[in-house]
Amino acid sequence: MKNEDLIAKLKTIVQPYVQDEDAFNNLSEETTFVGDLKINSANLVDIILDVEDEFDIRIENEEMEQMLSVKAAMAIVNSKIAS
């Protein structure tokens, strides 16, 4: 999947949880979920569920712990889709 397509899909997924609209509008690979987008950390598990459903993958606890930024999320999703 192209990076921009993947980012677009991730944006759609995280949008409902975002508390900082400016950061969301300027979202890049470097953007972090809790620090930049001000997403409530409790909602990270909901984002994981939505990512699992969207890409038909399963994400393990260790992977989830690392999924703190757009870049990390992309890496994990890419590795799962490829396998």
Binding site: P16, Y17, A42, N43, L44, V45, D46, L49, E52
Partner: protein
Amino acid sequence: MTRVVITGMGVVAPNGVGLEAFTKAIKLGTSGIAYHDNLKAANFSCCIGGIPQVSEEKKLEYLTPLQLRGFNSSGILYGCMAGMDAWKDAGLEIDAESDLDYDSGCVFGTGTSGVDKFREAIYKVDAGEVKRMGSTVVLQTMASGISAYLGGILGLGNQVTTNSSACTTGTEAILMGFERIKNGQAKRMLVGSCSDDGPYIWGGFDAMRVMTYKHNDSPQEGSRPMSASASGFVPGSGAGAMVLESLESALERGATIYAEVLGGQVNSGGQRNGGTLTAPNAEAVQRCITNAIKDSKIEASAIDTINGHLTATSKDSLEIENWTKALGRKGANFPYINSLKSMVGHCLAAAGSIESVAAVLQLKEQFVFPNINCHDVHPEILELIADEKIPKQMLNKTLNIAAKASFGFGDVNACIIFKTYN
């Protein structure tokens, strides 16, 4: 001593959502009871119940799309609506960025929280999908879910808690907030209670055969407190809420004052002397009422109207007998008495708060709401009090003092005395 007044109210009831609709409904004697296919499908004996009508659009006036994601707790929804309405009605702001208010707290009760969400969660656990339950199962199913939601929405910094005492819950919550203000521990307390609806919360009562099965074809006639043809209660749901405030704080803010809370009493019959898990100890009920009157520093003769517990089971006559003994008043000397349950059913944990809102509206607007489905008053009741004291049509009356009592499983009692503010 600190006087405590009511400066705001909110209600989500089967016969009216919002204070205005509810006031109109109780004046007219409008029933909120309907037939429900899902109860029939689950083989309930009683297929009727009271459920507040809340559209998806309406929900968004109270909760954000994010809060509503995976949300499946009717009680918390009703509680948030009633609580937020009461807060606004008191002239207070709801602002997610507001400063933390250490002078304001919340006691908001419930029986079981988020029973539908709990069912979802149990299915997930049993399927080995714990990881896929999402982040809000705990918040929606913990007993204190409702006070947690309200505490955050309003930015409350005083005590924020949930009480639970079966069908006395709502009345008890009001008294808990009242005590806290009276003791100088808070200036303002949002108090109330809420209850879920549907087969999973009502099923246990149907199993006990305490709900009527005789009115599946005539739902609006099903709830018949004090009637000779009463045949069990009709389940209901919803939420009621009040903002209690020290008189000083209310006057400072120039707030509208609905009524004053004079005092009250909470006790238990200890499941002794005739009391059981499900039946009241009559002596304790009478003591609760008597002590509420004492606590309020009034005479029993000063009570103008009673809003009873009166569920439409065989216990109604006993409740009337308890009132006559506790007040030392009977026949034509008895106060007016009514039961909101004739219109909304038994709203369980929400009953005490919704009914208290109705009782206070009566004082504010000087009327006694009608008992519907009570044209055949039970003969045992007529031996105790005069028929005219059980209004079948709305009465416009000068009222000064209203008593409200609730009784619950576990043999627990609560009685509260409201007075017109002047």
